[in-house]
Amino acid sequence: MHDLAPLTALGAATPRHDMIGGVTIAENPNVALASVAARRGKSEPCATALADWLGAPVPEVAQHSGDAKTGFWLGPDMWMLEAPFATHEDMARDLGTRFEGLASVTEQTDAWARFDLSGDGPDDMLARLTNLDLATLPNRFARRTVMEHIGCYLLRRGATYSVYGPRSFAASLHHALCLSAGAL
């Protein structure tokens, strides 16, 4: 076991947690990520393997699926998989084996900073950040969107939203989230 101490995307030892008005903005580093992109001609077996790993149907376009482990759609034949970091830190290696010859797997865990939004009014808050029409989107949507000039993914999980922004932008993204929550 190595002995290097991780920092969160916001540069602290512990994740940031803000309650602003009725909205909670929680930095969430406890997720391992890997992208899976089907090899040419392997769409179907790759999708089967993916459904098997998820224990759920393959996510529809611009949606996510799964429960303990989840995946969301990134593009044609390409998905991002999410699993608990504590148990899946080396997920990309394991998936590489599982999808051998079917897909290209890339570790994405630290490519993204994740903020989970909950409480009263994340919809109103997000109206200040994204041009997505949240009211018309399906419950489990997962969309690419721009917030504060930053290319992000936005996912809805019941009453909670997850925002993924490129990790290096974490501070700017967090600042925008907090300002928008405060403006409500």
Partner: protein
């Protein structure tokens, strides 16, 4: 004066405010204008050019006169219309464009000079000397003629932006807007109802009408209450829709906090909404227009509808005795309303010979107002009757109605032109409306209340029908549809000045002069006379100007046409346009994995694109950045240095065809690169010019990691993605950017291996034999952390780049510093990085500048002729391959302490610094502590043949001229022995 009862004001509460330092009191519900009028203050400003005393003529956002400055310091806002400034306790307003004061303004001398200050005065007068314009004339004119001033202090308030979506956007909450919103809301559509007023209701707030058997204001309140309970409706009061943009998108400014002394903590002052609507109904009502007559600009002379609005909504009359001057029936309705409210209406002067009679006052049919008196406000008006006899009538206020203009502005933002309707003598929206827009109510020329209600309901139902949402028109409440008859009358004849545009001091005479001088197009008229410019954009003045022009040209107003309507409808604060993007948050910033650590080290940061990178790490006692950078370079070249190089782009390339793909992307060969090896690669653009360079490491048969320069991380990824998807879709290749996923640290210097051996897990052999130059491997460090190691060197030293998952980057830097303390490990920043790469002759952004070829860079032989790759063919174009072209060389200052400016041009000794003598240019320059001299990289014609010759690096711009010697660009270790050690 305040009327004894009535009005939508809360008389139980009193608000204190000041105007020009004088204390006054008003009530909640008041505007600044209504409160001042209630206090007997009619004089609120001075005019733009002649500094004439002015008071409000309107009661809404079309106000041209009563412009005041609100607030102080960073919150100072000039040119605010007193007619829409909501009163709050402690409001502080000041008049503007007057000196020393509003009542006595020395600049009113301009009014005496008015015969000279006609249209085109500046153009005719300040023609020479030309140099005087910018330095003397313009500042002088601006001081004399102007609006308010900003304080230049930073604005302490925040502004926000956002996005809203709806099926139907209803613009304006008067009778038609309320009915449209109600119709759509009850049908279940998603509705946004935006109104610029703080009390929606529009004209109903200023009227004695009954709707459905109750007061119109009560009906409006009842509809708003119902809409407020519906989850599918969003009511936006204090929100002005300022522009109609493409595809049903509207811009709207919500004044969230302008009615408060200052915003609540965290709350924005204003929010700029982008509203995505499937359909929109424009219910913006109509604006009354004045009639021009001699001295028609005295405080107390207002639009008749404004007199009615002040009386009804705010229980205010500007004077105890008033008169009405009109050419249409609405003037009579106003007179009736005022009489009912107890105002002494002395006469209705109607230009129409067949004017109807009116109970309670004299109607002077066929009469005109031919003059006015009163120094700082109206005291009397001269009436000239149809028989030519004149007399003076003592009144303190005069309501003028020249008819009503449907508020077409938003309907014309997509280049639509309104169409003329003779029956109402006005333009109405027509022709090319913005996509998805419908118009209802007075904005569509439906002037009666019943017609407005019916129009709103019908248009909403039509809009919903388009969207497939079934909507039934609700039962319309009972409402009046008074006949609106008008006989156009634009200006009273005479030789005295009669104002058309109050804000810009444009008179009938000015329009005549413009016509006389040959200005025929209305757009030219506008620019020459300034009619319709500035903050009100001619809302009350445009049509009058057009009418005068039409009359002079002997053509119809329709044929004369209107000027172009453009957003914004009302002025928008710059802050609202900027939103959250101000100061340090102007744009998002990217931070490196070692940012926290570098900050602790006292690093100076530099912006590289959006990244903040450590530029250098000053030590105590270092007084100049050069000292720091020289130390960092020397420490690295003699021991070991570490540098965060995470910002370089990383692209994960996988797939069965990954090698073949890269073989086409890079101009040099990649097909045969062995697993565990890294290769320097150069990629060309389609046109054969160098695009970017970097390395590609082969981690497995079907897996590469490509690196790019920091600046080109995104363009290269885009380029590769384009090639993958569009050029060669048959290839089995998958691309993902992993720039952010890995923290990458350069460990450079003769002791770099020794340092790395202390953290790389023992299973991995870093010896030169086991892990030679250009090796790469997936390894573990610090007891099992997955990592990637590349033996590549930008500095020219024995060097490695080590990558770990980003969250561990900070800890890795600390561990390297800790483990390397006895080796003298030194962190270095982008400056030292730059010095070392110049010393080594490595190209970077300055050399890969979009104009240079592989051949220019001395890399011509890298462009493989054994295969095809992007740009290879065009790189062999004649013009790019001629002998004597630019070649990358080194420059060494003949006097080692003489700085070579980057960008300097290379010249023969004694040659004049002209383009004809230009031999090339220096791209990157620095002081080399290793060489002990200023050096540079440069592109020089036939540079390779000039080794050892002396030329000059000259910058005629800065007057620098430095003798230089042409040398190899590889100042350090030209044989590459160090990096292979």
């Amino acid at each position: 004066m305040r009327l004894p009862s009535g009005g939508q004001i809360d008389r139980s509460q009193s608000l204190r405010f000041t105007f020009d330092g004088q204390q006054y009191r008003g009530h909640p519900g008041d505007t600044l204008a209504s409160a001042l009028l209630a206090n007997g203050v009619r004089l609120m400003g001075r005019s733009f050019k002649y500094h004439r005393p002015r008071g409000p003529i309107a009661a809404g956002s079309e106000e041209p006169n009563a412009l005041v400055t609100l607030g102080r310091g960073g919150r100072q806002e000039p040119n605010t219309r007193a007619t829409v400034a909501e009163l709050f306790d402690g409001l502080e307003a000041r008049s503007q464009n007057a000196w020393p004061g509003l009542r006595f303004d020395a600049m009113a001398i301009n009014d005496r000079l008015s015969p000279f200050l006609t249209a085109g005065f500046y153009y005719k007068t300040f023609m020479w000397p030309a140099a005087f314009w910018e330095k003397l004339y313009e500042p002088m004119i601006r001081r004399a003629a102007g609006l308010g001033a900003i304080s230049t202090d930073p604005d302490p308030d925040s502004y926000d932006k956002g996005f809203l979506h709806c099926d139907l956007l209803v613009i304006g909450a008067g009778p038609s807007g309320l009915m449209a919103a109600l119709t759509a809301a009850r049908a279940g559509a998603r509705v946004i109802l935006a109104d610029e007023d703080y009390t929606p209701g529009g004209r109903l707030n200023a009227s004695a009408e009954q709707i459905g058997g109750q007061a119109a204001t009560d009906w409006a309140a009842q509809v708003l209450a119902e809409l407020g309970t519906l989850p599918n409706v969003r009511i936006l009061p204090r929100t002005t829709v300022v522009g109609a943009f493409d595809h049903g998108i509207y811009g709207a400014v919500e004044r969230v906090s302008d009615h408060l002394p200052q915003p609540l903590p965290g709350k924005p002052r204003q929010t700029l909404w982008r509203i995505y609507s499937k359909r929109a109904v424009l219910c913006a009502g109509a604006l009354e227009r004045p009639i021009a007559f001699a001295d028609n600009d005295r405080p107390g002379i207002m639009l008749a509808g404004a007199l009615a609005a002040y009386a009804h909504r705010w229980a205010v009359s500007p004077a105890s005795r008033v008169a009405i001057f009109t050419n249409n029936d609405s003037g009579h309705a106003t007179a009736r309303d005022l009489i009912a409210l107890g105002v002494d209406v002395r006469a209705v002067i109607d230009t129409r010979a067949d004017a109807p009679k009116l109970d309670g006052t004299e109607v002077i049919a066929g009469g005109q107002i031919t003059g006015t008196r009163g120094r700082l406000g109206l005291s009397a008006a001269q009436i000239t009757r149809a028989n030519g006899r004149s007399h003076w009538l003592e009144v303190g206020a005069l309501g003028v109605s020249g008819g009503w203009n449907p508020n077409v502005a938003l309907s014309c933002h997509q280049r639509g032109r309104p169409v003329w309707r003779d029956d109402i003598a006005s333009f109405v929206p027509g022709g090319m409306l913005p996509v998805g827009m419908l118009v209802a109510g007075a904005a569509a020329g439906q002037f009666g209340t019943h017609a407005a209600l019916a129009g709103g309901a019908a248009q909403a139902a039509a809009a919903l029908g388009d969207l497939g949402i079934p909507a039934s028109t609700p039962d319309l409440p009972q409402a009046d549809d008074a006949l609106y008859r008008i006989t156009p009358f634009w200006h009273v004849g005479g030789t005295k000045r009669a104002w058309l545009d109050f804000q810009n001091d444009v008179t009938v005479k000015d329009v005549k002069l413009a016509h006389q001088e040959g200005f025929r197009s209305v757009e030219h008229l506008k620019r020459y006379t300034t009619l319709g410019m500035a903050t009100d954009q001619g809302k009350t003045s445009n049509l009058g100007g057009l009418a005068v022009m039409a009359e002079l040209a002997g053509q119809s107003i329709e044929a004369t046409g209107t000027t172009m309507f453009r957003p914004p409808y009302t002025p928008v604060a710059m802050g609202a346009l900027a939103g959250r993007a101000t100061g340090p948050d102007f744009k998002p910033t990217r931070k490196t994995p070692s940012h926290v650590w570098a900050t602790e080290q006292g690093a100076t940061f530099v912006e590289v694109g959006q990244w903040l990178r450590a530029q250098y790490f000053p030590h105590a006692g270092e007084t100049h950045w050069r000292q720091t950078v020289d130390r960092e370079v020397n420490a690295t070249r003699s021991g070991v240095g570490i540098c965060d190089v995470t910002t370089l782009g990383k692209i994960d390339v996988q797939g069965a065809d990954a090698a073949a793909f890269l073989n086409r992307i890079y101009c040099n060969g990649f097909a045969k690169l062995a697993v565990g090896k890294t290769r320097y690669g150069l990629m060309l653009r389609e046109d054969g010019i160098a695009m970017d360079d970097g390395t590609a490491a082969r981690l497995a048969e079907d897996h590469f990691v490509v690196t790019t320069t920091t600046a080109n991380a995104v363009p290269v990824f885009r380029h590769m993605e384009f090639a993958r998807q569009c050029l060669w879709p048959d290839m089995d290749v998958q691309l993902v950017s992993t720039t952010e996923a890995w923290a990458q640290v350069a460990v450079a210097g003769p002791k770099s291996r020794e340092l790395l051996q202390r953290i790389v897990d023992p299973a991995y052999d870093l010896s030169n034999d086991a892990f030679p130059f250009m090796g790469c491997a997936e390894i573990t460090v610090c007891g099992g952390l997955r990592a990637r190691l590349f033996r590549i060197s930008f500095s020219g030293e024995l060097a490695f780049e080590l990558a770990v998952p980003t969250r561990y980057g900070d800890a890795l830097m600390r561990r390297l510093m800790d483990k390397g303390a006895d080796l003298g490990v030194t962190p270095y920043g982008t400056e030292a990085l730059g010095v070392m790469r110049i010393e080594k002759g490595h190209a970077a952004g300055n050399e890969l500048n979009g104009t240079t070829t592989a051949r220019n860079l001395g890399l011509g032989r890298m462009v493989s002729t054994k295969k095809d790759s992007i740009g290879a063919v065009l790189s062999r174009r004649e013009g790019l391959t001629e002998e004597g072209g630019l070649e990358l060389v080194g420059l060494r200052a003949v006097n080692p302490q003489k700085q070579i400016p980057a960008g300097a041009h290379i010249l023969e000794p004694g040659a004049a610094a002209t383009a004809a003598n230009d031999l090339g240019y220096a791209t990157s320059a620095c002081y080399s502590p290793t060489i002990g001299s200023y050096i540079a990289l440069a592109f020089v014609q036939a540079g390779g043949t000039r080794m050892g010759t002396r030329l000059r690096a000259a910058s005629p711009l800065t007057g620098v001229d430095v003798p230089v010697e042409i040398v190899s660009p590889h100042f350090v270790d030209p044989e590459g022995e160090r990096l292979r050690a």
